[in-house]
C-alpha cells in the first residue's frame, strides 16, 4: 500500500488525423502516484494540458476494468505495457520507476488506421465478425436449453476461446500485423460447440477471407500475439483455424465455395 511519487518523461505519438503525418511529442508527467493506473496518469497529464490551453492526448478507454477492450497502446514497444495478462487500463504505475522514459504509440497496422494520436480504427474486427462470427438463430426460436448437453471439457474450451476482448493487441504485437489470433478465437469458440456445426465451414472460410481483405498479414507462428494478449488467448486456436480452413476448402455447408466478399 505504500505510495511513492514518480517523475516520468512521456514521448507520445501525436497525429491530428488519419492522413496527417505524425510525430513524437515530449511531455513531463510529474508527481505521479504509484497507485495510479496508467490511464489515470494520462488523465492527470491531460487535465494539465487542457488547463494550459494545449490539446490533450487522445486515447481510447471505457470500462477501465480490463473487459471492454477499448483501450490499448504500445508502451516502450510492448502492447498494453510491461505487465503480462493486463490491459493498459489495469496497469498501475507501481510497475514503473522514478525517472523512466516512456514511449507511447498507437497500435500500428494497416488494418487499424490511426484516427488521432493513440486512437485507431478497429472496425475491421467488426467486419470480420459480420462475415460469419455468429450462429444464425432467430430470436424466440431456440429450443429448451438443456435439450442438448455439451461436454464440460468442450464448453470450457469454448469459453477459453470466447474470452477474447477484441482489443487488437495481438495485431499490434505481430510482426506481420496479423489478425489471426482474434479471428481464430471466434472461429474456435463457435466450432467447438454443437450449436455452431451447421455453419462451421462457411464461417471459417468467410471470416478468414474477410481478415485477408482487411489487409492484415498472415500468421508465421511468432507467438507474439499470445504473449501480448491480456486475456491469455492461446496460439493453439490458430492451428485449429487453419484446420477449419483446409477442411472448408474441400467441403462446404451451403454449397457456396467462394467468400461472400
Amino acid at each position: 500500500m505504500s505510495e511513492e511519487l514518480l517523475n516520468l518523461t512521456l514521448h507520445v505519438w501525436r497525429q491530428d488525423g488519419p492522413s496527417q503525418p505524425g510525430r513524437f511529442e515530449t511531455h513531463p508527467a510529474t508527481g505521479i502516484s504509484t497507485h495510479m493506473s496508467f490511464l489515470e496518469m494520462l488523465d492527470v497529464v491531460n487535465e494539465d494540458l487542457i488547463e494550459k490551453g494545449k490539446s490533450p492526448i487522445a486515447f481510447d478507454y471505457d470500462c477501465r476494468e480490463g473487459i471492454c477492450g477499448s483501450c490499448g497502446m504500445v508502451v516502450n514497444g510492448v502492447a498494453h505495457g510491461p505487465q503480462r495478462l493486463t490491459t493498459i487500463c489495469q496497469l498501475h504505475m507501481r510497475q514503473f520507476n522514478d525517472g523512466d522514459e516512456l514511449w507511447l504509440e498507437p497500435w500500428r497496422a494497416s488494418g487499424f488506421p490511426v484516427v488521432k494520436d493513440l486512437v485507431v480504427d478497429r472496425s475491421a474486427f467488426d467486419r470480420i465478425v459480420q462475415a460469419g462470427g455468429y450462429i444464425s438463430i432467430r430470436t424466440g426460436s431456440a429450443t429448451e436449453a438443456n435439450e442438448m448437453p455439451v461436454a464440460k471439457a468442450m464448453a470450457d474450451q469454448a469459453m477459453d476461446a470466447a474470452e477474447c476482448i477484441g482489443c487488437g493487441a495481438c495485431v499490434a504485437a505481430c510482426p506481420n500485423a496479423s489478425a489471426s489470433l482474434f479471428t481464430a478465437a471466434k472461429i474456435s469458440h463457435l466450432s467447438l460447440l454443437p450449436q455452431g456445426q451447421a455453419e462451421r465451414l462457411d464461417r471459417a472460410r468467410n471470416m478468414v477471407a474477410q481478415m485477408d481483405a482487411e489487409g492484415f498479414g498472415g500468421c508465421t507462428n511468432h507467438g507474439e500475439c499470445e504473449a501480448a494478449c491480456p486475456k491469455g488467448v492461446s496460439l493453439r486456436w490458430i492451428a485449429r483455424m487453419n484446420r477449419e480452413v483446409v477442411r472448408s476448402a474441400v467441403k462446404s455447408d451451403s454449397g457456396v465455395k467462394t467468400a461472400r466478399r
Binding site: 491530428d16 493506473s37 487535465e47 471505457d62 476494468e65 472496425s123
Partner: protein, 643 residues
C-alpha cells in the same frame, strides 16, 4: 401529465399472453417500410436492434464506443437469473417474481416483474442457442450458482464474465443483421438530442465522434437503451463513458423521469486511492462468504498495519451488530455500516481529501480454517485483480474495501409496452425504471436487459407501429428538425466558448460527484439534501462560466464529449436530490436517516406506495411530480429485518 401503465388485467400469469393477443401487428411485407432508431448497443439495445432487424424493420443502431461489442453490459461478472428450476429446488416463475418484487422493496409494478420472470427462461434458451458458453456440469447440462436475495439456485454464469458472453451473443446476432443489411451500425456516434415532431419521437441528432459532424437521423420511432446514470457520482463502477445524455435529452422533451433517487451501492469495491481516481472496481460479493469485515476499535490504530492490531482491538461491526446474518447482511446494510464506521473516524487505508474511506475484509481466519489452497480455488482471480489494483497481497494482509455506486434503478418512466410519456419513444434496459423497484437483486440486470431487448421491445414496437400505421413524411429541412440540430450546435458552441474558461470538465464532475456521494449517497437526510440543492445550481453556473474545452468541435475531441455529459449530470443530479428529499421514507437503495428504526429502513406504504414520475417544466430544478400508484395483488408488502 397522464400516466397510464397500460398493463393488462386478469390473472397475472396470463397478462403478457393476453396483451400480445390484443396488440397490433405489422405484416412481414410492411416491416421494411418502417425505420427504427435504437440508441445503445448493450444487452437491451443490441438485442433489440438485432431482433428488429431480423423481423424485417430497417434499423439504425448507435453507440458512442468504437464498436457495439464494448457496451458496459460487458462488465457484468456474476450471472443471470432464470426460473428454470434445473436444480429441482422448488424454483418457479412465481418465486422469481416474488423475490424480485420483495427485493425491490415493493416499489415496482407487479405486471412488469411477472413478465420479466416469465421471459427469463426464454433468454437462457436463446443465449445457449447463440453459443454463449455458460458453465456446465460434468453431465453436460447447465450449471447454476446461488445469489443474494434468493433461497434457490437459479443463476446461470460464464466464469466471472457472464455479461461479456451474453453481450457478445447479442453483438454477434447484431453483426448478422448488419451483414444482412437490415441494421446500419453507427459506432462512435453520440446522440445529443431527440427530434420530436407533432408530439411524437421522430428521430435524433447525433455527433460523429470521429469527425465532429452534427446531423439529424429521422425515423418512425426511437428506442433508447442507453444504460444508467451512475456516473452522476463521478466515481462508480460504470465505464467512464457511461452517461445520461440520451435519457436526459428525452426528459427535457417531455419524457417523465421515474424514481431518480433509487441508486444501488455495491458494498465490496476497491477503495479510492487518490484524487486522480477515475473509476472504482467492483469485486464479487461472494468474497463476503469467507471474509470478515472489521475496522480498528480505536482511532489511533487506523494507520497501523492491520497485522499489528490485536484481536481485542478489532471491531467486527457487522458480526456484532447483526449476529444472525453477520458479514452476509444485504448490500445496503453492509454499505451503510461501512459509511457509519468511517464517519466515526475508524476508516483505514489511504487518506483522500482528508478522510480514510476503507474497511478491512480479512481472510486470515478462512485461510487458517480451510487452507490457502481452498481460498485460492474459490477467489484466486479476485485476489489477483485486487493485488494488481491495490498493490497488496490479500493472502498476507486484509483487503481494503468500500462501497461504490453500481446501478441505477431509476430511469425513464415507461408503461407496460416500455413506451415513455412521449409517443414513439421507448426505453429498455437500465435506461428505464421498470422492473427493479427501489433495489435490484443480483443477477437481475442482465435478465432485464435481454428480456426487454429480445422479447418485449420487438413486440411492443410492432404494436406501436401497427397503431400509428403511416406517419407523415418528415424532411431534414423541416423546422422541428432544424431547430433540434440548431440547439445541438448552439450547445456545442457554448461548451467550447465559456466566458471565463479555467477548468477541464472533470474538475466540475468531481465536485458534483462529491456532493451527490456525500449527500445523496448511501444515507440521506433533509439537511444534507437541502444543502446539495443549494450547491448544485451554483456549481452548474460555474461550469457554464468556467468550463474549458480546447481544440475544435470538428474533430475527435474527447474533452468536448465529456463536457456535454457533465452538463447533463449537473441537471440530473439536482433532480435526484429533489426526489430523495420528497420521498420521506426509506426503501431499497434510498435510505433517509429520519425514517429508520434501530438502523433498519422504515418504509411508508401508506404514503409512498407510488412511482415518482418527474416532469420537466422548462428549467432545471423545477420539476413537477406525477404519481403512478402501485398496488400489490400477489405479493403482500412485508418488512425487511436482518437482525
Amino acid at each position: 401529465m397522464q400516466l397510464r401503465s397500460n398493463e393488462p388485467t386478469g390473472p397475472i400469469e396470463h397478462r403478457w399472453e393476453k396483451h400480445k393477443e390484443s396488440s397490433k401487428l405489422v405484416a412481414p411485407a410492411n416491416r421494411r417500410k418502417y425505420n427504427i432508431i435504437v440508441v445503445g448497443s448493450g444487452l437491451a439495445g443490441g438485442a433489440a436492434a438485432a431482433s428488429l432487424g431480423e423481423m424485417g424493420y430497417n434499423v439504425k443502431c448507435f453507440c458512442y464506443q468504437d464498436s457495439p461489442r464494448r457496451a458496459h453490459s460487458i462488465a457484468a461478472q456474476g450471472g443471470i437469473n432464470a426460473a428454470k428450476n434445473y436444480q429441482n429446488d422448488g424454483d418457479s416463475v412465481f418465486r422469481l417474481f416474488y423475490d424480485t418484487v420483495k427485493g425491490g422493496d415493493f416499489r415496482s409494478r407487479e405486471s412488469n416483474v411477472y413478465r420479466l420472470a416469465q421471459l427469463s427462461t426464454n433468454i437462457i434458451d436463446q443465449a445457449v442457442a447463440q453459443g454463449v458458453p455458460f458453465a456446465r456440469e460434468y453431465g453436460g447440462l447447465l450449471a447454476n450458482r446461488s445469489f443474494g436475495g434468493a433461497q434457490v439456485s437459479r443463476t446461470f454464469y460464464a466464469r466471472g464474465q457472464t455479461g461479456q458472453q451474453l453481450l457478445l451473443g447479442a453483438y454477434q446476432a447484431l453483426s448478422r443483421q448488419i451483414e444482412a443489411g437490415k441494421v446500419e451500425m453507427m459506432a462512435r456516434t453520440e446522440m445529443l438530442d431527440l427530434i420530436v415532431h407533432d408530439g411524437r419521437a421522430r428521430g435524433i441528432v447525433t455527433r460523429c465522434l470521429k469527425t465532429g459532424k452534427v446531423e439529424p437521423h429521422i425515423a418512425d420511432m426511437v428506442v433508447l437503451c442507453t444504460g444508467g446514470y451512475g456516473n452522476v457520482f463521478y466515481l462508480s463502477t460504470n465505464a467512464k463513458g457511461c452517461n445520461c445524455m440520451a435519457i436526459w435529452r428525452a426528459h427535457r422533451h417531455g419524457a417523465a423521469f421515474a424514481n431518480p433517487c433509487y441508486t444501488q451501492i455495491h458494498p465490496t469495491c476497491i477503495p479510492q486511492s487518490g484524487e486522480y481516481q477515475s473509476k472504482l472496481t467492483l469485486m464479487s460479493e461472494s468474497l463476503r462468504n469467507d471474509g470478515r469485515v472489521w475496522v480498528p476499535r480505536n482511532k489511533e490504530d487506523v494507520t497501523k498495519r492491520p497485522e499489528d492490531i490485536p484481536e481485542k482491538d478489532r471491531f467486527y461491526y457487522l458480526e456484532e451488530r447483526y449476529p444472525a446474518f453477520g458479514n452476509l447482511v444485504p448490500r445496503d446494510v453492509a454499505s451503510r455500516n461501512a459509511l457509519y464506521v468511517t464517519n466515526e473516524g475508524l476508516g483505514v487505508g489511504l487518506e483522500v481529501d482528508g478522510e480514510r474511506r476503507g474497511v478491512y475484509l480479512d481472510f486470515s481466519d478462512a485461510i487458517k480454517r480451510l487452507g490457502e489452497q481452498t481460498i485460492r480455488e474459490r477467489y484466486g482471480n479476485l485476489f489477483e485483480m485486487y493485488e494488481r489494483i491495490a498493490g497488496d497481497n490479500p493472502y498476507k494482509t486484509p483487503m481494503r474495501i468500500y462501497p461504490a455506486t453500481h446501478y441505477t434503478m431509476g430511469g425513464l418512466w415507461v408503461d407496460y409496452n416500455l413506451q415513455t410519456t412521449i409517443p414513439g419513444l421507448f426505453a429498455g434496459g437500465e435506461a428505464n425504471f421498470s422492473d427493479h423497484g427501489a433495489n435490484r437483486l443480483g443477477a437481475s440486470a442482465l435478465m432485464q436487459g435481454l428480456a426487454d431487448g429480445y422479447f418485449v421491445l420487438p413486440f411492443t414496437v410492432g404494436n406501436y407501429l401497427g397503431e400509428v400505421r403511416t406517419l407523415p413524411e418528415l424532411a431534414e429541412d423541416h423546422p422541428d428538425v432544424k431547430k433540434a440540430v440548431g440547439s445541438v450546435e448552439e450547445r456545442i458552441h457554448k461548451l467550447m466558448n465559456a466566458p471565463d474558461p479555467k477548468h477541464a470538465p472533470e474538475y466540475f464532475h468531481r465536485k458534483l460527484g462529491r456532493i451527490i456521494w456525500s449527500k445523496c449517497g448511501m444515507s440521506r437526510n433533509k439537511e444534507g439534501l437541502e444543502e446539495a440543492l443549494r450547491e448544485i445550481p451554483k456549481l452548474r453556473d460555474r461550469f457554464w462560466r468556467e468550463v474549458k474545452v480546447v481544440g475544435s468541435g470538428a474533430e475527435l475531441n474527447q474533452t468536448l464529449e465529456r463536457a456535454g455529459r457533465v452538463a447533463d449530470f449537473l441537471e440530473l443530479g439536482e433532480l435526484m436530490c429533489i426526489d430523495a428529499l420528497q420521498r420521506e421514507e426509506s426503501c431499497g437503495g434510498h435510505f433517509r436517516e429520519e425514517h429508520e428504526e434501530n438502523g433498519e429502513a422504515l418504509r411508508d406504504d401508506e404514503q409512498f406506495s407510488y412511482v415518482s414520475a418527474w416532469e420537466w417544466t422548462g428549467a432545471a430544478g423545477e420539476p413537477r411530480l406525477n404519481q403512478e400508484p402501485l398496488s400489490f395483488e400477489y405479493v403482500k408488502p412485508s418488512k425487511r429485518s436482518y437482525k
